[in-house]
């Protein structure tokens, strides 16, 4: 009796959560699909009434995410390895406390911080500053998931390697990290997905740019800021473009996710 009740209750909650998610996704697809076409994906924004696209915002977002991952992932994974493998004593507790706190800091605060320490000294908004802001948000998330995943690697595996005469660092790099890799990658994906939706920190750092750009030291467009600009405008046409851009952003995250998962499951032992 209680079993059935419990099963029904949890199933109902799960159904509710999934339904909400599907409703959101469905509504975005429904609103966004109409304005979606090839020129929208490759062109730069144009004044109202002339169409225009988000090509520069897509490449800009990819560049920001790529550079942020390049900075944030190694930093986060190394911190996680440190916490899990050597994480005793005061310094480690401090690091753990700081990463936990950093996870909870609103992203706009990170944006303002990077504005102060990078944008102001450099004299202008830049893609680099935007990537740094995103990396700061990613690092603690990646660090804590990496730590958790490494702690899940059974002691018996470490002992097996140690018993063969492996020094500690080789146990970590050769046995523990590969065993934890799928989990770490999932954590990294979550972090990438999380920052790919960030707008606030980019407003203070990467700002926006009307044309294609690959200059690290100049402002750069991004999907989220572009969506923001389109969405707050008073024009119905731009609202439609905002929906379409949202659909593109969502698809982008989905594609990155699937690609990484595919790569990992194929290589996994």
């Amino acid at each position: 009796m209680m079993n059935a009740l419990m099963t029904t209750l949890t199933a109902a909650c799960a159904l509710f959560a999934v339904t909400m998610l599907l409703l959101i996704l469905g509504y975005i697809a429904f609103r966004g699909f109409g304005s979606l076409n090839l020129s929208f994906l490759v062109e730069t924004p144009k004044p109202v009434g002339e169409g225009g696209g988000i090509g520069n915002a897509i490449t800009g977002s990819l560049m920001l995410l790529g550079l942020a991952s390049l900075i944030g992932l190694p930093l986060g994974v190394s911190t996680g390895v440190f916490l899990a493998e050597f994480g005793e004593g005061r310094f480690a507790s401090l690091v753990r406390f700081v990463t936990d706190t950093l996870t909870g800091v609103p992203s706009i605060v990170v944006g303002v911080f990077v504005y102060t320490v990078v944008v102001v000294p450099m004299g202008n908004f830049s893609a680099l500053a935007g990537s740094i802001a995103l990396a700061i948000i990613m690092t603690p998330i990646v660090a804590r998931t990496t730590e958790e995943m490494i702690r899940l690697v059974p002691t018996s595996l470490r002992e097996g390697a140690l018993a063969l005469g492996a020094p500690q660092w080789r146990v970590t790099t050769g046995v523990v990290l590969p065993a934890a890799a799928p989990g770490i990658a999932t954590g990294a994906m979550l972090a990438v997905a999380r920052v790919s939706g960030e707008t606030a920190p980019l407003l203070f750092t990467a700002l926006n740019y009307r044309f294609f750009s690959h200059d690290l030291f100049q402002p750069i467009a991004s999907l989220t800021v572009q969506i923001y600009n389109y969405a707050i405008s008073p024009y119905e046409e731009w609202h439609a473009l905002a929906w379409a851009a949202t659909l593109v952003l969502m698809t982008l995250i989905l594609v990155i996710n699937i690609a990484v998962r595919f790569f990992l499951t194929r290589k996994r032992f």
């Binding site: 018996s156 002992e159 140690l162 063969l164 005469g165 492996a166 046995v175 032992f269």
Partner: protein
């Protein structure tokens, strides 16, 4: 040397006094000599004043009830307990006459000389080949690829696993059965050609057929290696070992030829345990 340790109730006698049933290999050179070893987990003392000699190329079995310290003792022989924070060993463990707890001992090379097989098989999430090659690679024991291949093959043959896996060396070790995984772990330990192999209840999680294979393997390995095996299974100790040591409450009660231990032990306590009166 701590003198605060209460006098053990059962003082293991030096070999000369253990009348009659000497080990058949009594004149074999001593591979591991342990002198007055005390071991602590934090404040709790797990081993009390252990002294024992393990002759070369014999199988010595450690028996005793759960929690008697036999696994802990086994793990002091390759300093595996070092990985547990708050542990401490006092006394000497001599490998070929050299104290492995002496300051400056290279623990990594010690563990290469004293291999270990664990209770639960623990293959790495890598291919069968890479599992066996792991110790060879990290210790740079082979010069080239053909030599590596040959050492891996030899180790798998020594562990009586070669014929079952030779066509699937590149597949995941996690796809093997439990018994095969344990033999793979034995092959992995043998590949680096250790001098001593420590086995911590290597067959406790296996079915009778897999257990039999492991036991035959142990007897076979004795020709080349010194083997110390912890086991809960007294029949197993009787079947595979030359010498048996009985532990009780962190103390070494008796060490004697296996045959003597199981037929006519010197100590009343050993007899009570063997005959199932406690434990």
């Amino acid at each position: 040397m701590s003198t605060t340790v209460p006098t053990p109730v059962f003082v293991p006698r030096p070999k000369a006094e253990q009348g009659g049933g000497q080990t058949p290999e009594a004149d074999a050179p001593i591979k591991i000599g342990v002198r007055r070893l005390n071991f602590f987990y934090g404040r709790a003392q797990a081993l009390h004043d252990i002294s024992i000699d393990v002759p070369e190329r014999v199988v010595m079995a450690f028996i005793g009830p759960s929690g008697c310290g036999k696994s802990t003792f086994l793990r002091t022989l390759n300093r595996m307990n070092d990985t547990i924070p708050g542990t401490r060993a006092e006394g000497d463990v001599l490998l070929d006459g050299e104290d492995i707890y002496a300051p400056g001992t290279d623990v990594v090379s010690l563990r290469r000389r004293v291999g270990m097989v664990f209770q639960k098989s623990n293959p790495f999430p890598k291919s069968i080949f890479d599992n066996v090659a792991y110790g060879l690679r990290i210790n740079r024991l082979t010069e080239n690829k053909p030599e590596l291949n040959e050492r891996v093959e030899q180790a798998l043959k020594d562990a009586a696993l070669w014929s079952e896996v030779k066509d699937r060396l590149k597949t995941s070790a996690l796809g093997l059965s439990g018994g095969q995984q344990q033999r793979l772990c034995i092959a992995r330990a043998l590949a680096v050609r250790p001098e001593v192999v420590l086995m911590d209840e290597p067959a406790s999680a296996l079915d009778p057929i897999a257990t039999q294979k492991i036991e035959e393997l142990i007897v076979e390995l004795k020709r080349q290696y010194t083997i110390v095996i912890v086991t809960h299974n007294m029949q197993q100790a009787a079947r595979v070992s030359d010498t048996t040591a009985f532990f009780w409450l962190g103390k070494l009660v008796e060490v004697n030829a296996t045959e003597k231990i199981f037929t006519n032990p010197n100590e009343k306590l050993t007899e009570d345990y063997i005959t199932g009166r406690f434990g």
